[in-house]
């Protein structure tokens, strides 16, 4: 991990952060005593650094200093963004840290049963942390990195695998509307074939295995309910106006 990912400057809004990032030296003495996961700030227009590389580990370091919760209005309200980021994502971070700690304790005691019992919590809270970290980077204010259409190699791949960008949106919206309960829809890249495809995941199950997540859309009710209530199709339609295709293209190129 690069130390450049560490931000300990006062630029960070202290109120958002449950725990300060620990110095790297204090981390990773064993595989289970890593630093705590912390809530990433939302990406700013000026400065977006990828957090997704570290999302799979316990050390997620904040990477930017601006978090304008109203930046995605009118498509996603400031109230939704604030609760979603500072409360919901924070809860996943806390739950993930608690599960990691419990796993470490069980491991230290050689208690396999207790260790195994953490698996659902690791999946749920770890998945929630990973998914939301990817999601924030998938969004940007309309006209300032958000909205518009994909370009270049990404657009070529979309045309090839979905027929057109319009089709991709249509199919994604249908998949989102079809989720029975809480979950996510993802545009993913098949690591083996390189093809793009659309998948859904229940609850906070992360995209794993042979798929590389490029674009995730949160279909949990907390992602839209305060603004759209039961009219979730309107949310699915609006979110395309704040999708950051630059992030998607970057993930696609990797």
């Amino acid at each position: 991990m690069s130390s450049s990912l560490l931000r300990t400057t006062p630029l960070l809004r202290a109120g958002l952060r449950a725990r300060a990032a620990k110095p790297l030296a204090a981390m990773a003495t064993t595989s289970f005593t890593r630093g705590k996961a912390t809530l990433p700030d939302l990406p700013s227009e000026q400065e977006r650094r990828p957090c997704s590389e570290s999302c799979g580990t316990a050390e997620l370091i904040a990477y930017c200093d601006l978090d304008d919760y109203g930046a995605l209005e009118p498509y996603i309200s400031g109230q939704i963004m604030e609760l979603h980021h500072s409360k919901h994502h924070q809860t996943y971070v806390n739950g993930f840290n608690a599960a990691v700690e419990a796993l470490a304790e069980a491991e230290a005691k050689g208690d396999s049963k207790a260790a195994a019992s953490q698996a659902p919590l690791l999946n749920f809270h770890g998945g929630g942390h990973v998914n939301h970290s990817l999601f924030w980077e998938n969004l940007a204010p309309n006209g300032k990195g958000g909205g518009g259409e994909p370009e270049g190699k990404l657009l070529t791949a979309i045309n090839q695998d979905f027929g057109s960008f319009e089709n991709l949106k249509k199919q994604t919206n249908a998949a989102l509307a079809g989720i029975q309960g809480s979950g996510w829809a993802w545009i993913v890249k098949d690591k083996a074939s390189g093809n793009l495809t659309l998948v859904t995941r229940a609850n906070q199950d992360p995209v794993t295995g042979n798929f590389e997540p490029l674009l995730g859309i949160d279909a949990w009710e907390h992602a839209y309910y305060l603004q759209y209530q039961n009219r979730k199709a309107e949310y699915f339609s609006a979110i395309w106006d704040v999708i950051n295709w630059g992030t998607v293209a970057k993930r696609f190129g990797q």
Partner: protein, 258 residues
């Protein structure tokens, strides 16, 4: 013929589903309307499928305040529950066509939609009757003496039960429900994901909706406060009645219609 049996089995899970009602949220008096008699011809054997309609609430949309806001109740009942009913009817209609056409792949493809929307209709129908204004006699746990004795036996006290139920509800990962069920003579707490209904031999006594739409407009991420407050509007008379009956009784309206 086997498909027909599957369909009827699915339908037999649907309780309280055939009330004829025309709820008009703009009329405050709507909510005080008594639940109407079932439309008994909905399941005439000559009809391949029943058409379900939204049951009226046995109280006004604002009757559960401040525990559950009027806005939540109105959306939850007139929009969310209505959508389950509408989508269930659509799925059953398509399913009926698939049976007629002997189109088994289509029948299989429709089963998820029937389970989800049928479950949504069952669960919400049971849920509305599990609630009652806090000032009503039914909201007093004293209205469930027999059930209370069994709860004491199982969890030590009503508070012990509430704590166990609360833990189950707050432990749900994603959308779902928590239920107090009777299995034989034993009380148990179970959770069901999404709109899965309580199945098997279990009798659903008390269901609590933990979908975010059930509380988010009022409680946001504070779901523990929702769980805390919903105890003030539980209809213990309904719980007692379901506890004393069996699964057949819980679904007797549908059985009678058949």
């Amino acid at each position: 013929m086997a498909s027909r049996v599957i369909l009827l089995t699915a339908l037999s899970l649907l309780p309280l589903g055939c009330y004829s009602s025309s709820p008009d949220p703009s009329k405050p008096e709507f909510a005080s309307v008594k639940i109407q008699e079932p439309v008994t011809d909905s399941f005439e054997p000559t009809m391949s499928i029943g058409t379900f309609s939204l049951p009226a609430l046995p109280y006004a949309y604002d009757a559960l305040e401040p525990s559950i806001s009027r806005q939540i109740m109105e959306l939850h009942h007139s929009k969310h529950h209505q959508a389950y009913v509408t989508n269930l009817n659509n799925a059953l209609k398509t399913y009926s066509t698939a049976i007629t056409a002997n189109d088994v792949p289509s029948q299989i493809a429709l089963q998820a939609a029937i389970k989800f929307n049928g479950g949504g209709h069952i669960n919400h129908s049971l849920f509305w009757k599990n609630l009652s204004p806090s000032s009503s006699a039914d909201a007093d746990p004293a209205s469930a003496p027999t059930l209370a004795a069994e709860i004491d036996k199982t969890w030590g006290s009503l508070d012990g039960f509430k704590a166990a139920m609360g833990k189950a509800l707050l432990g749900l990962q994603g959308s779902g429900w928590g239920w107090l069920v009777k299995d034989g003579n034993t009380l148990r707490i179970v959770t069901t994901k999404d709109q899965d209904p309580v199945v098997g031999g279990e009798v659903p006594i008390l269901g609590i909706d933990m979908w975010e739409h059930a509380y988010y407009l009022q409680y946001h991420n504070g779901k523990a406060a929702y769980v805390e407050n919903i105890w003030k509007v539980i209809n213990w008379a309904t719980a007692e009645e379901r506890f004393k009956g069996d699964r057949e009784d819980a679904f007797k309206i549908l059985k009678a219609a058949l």
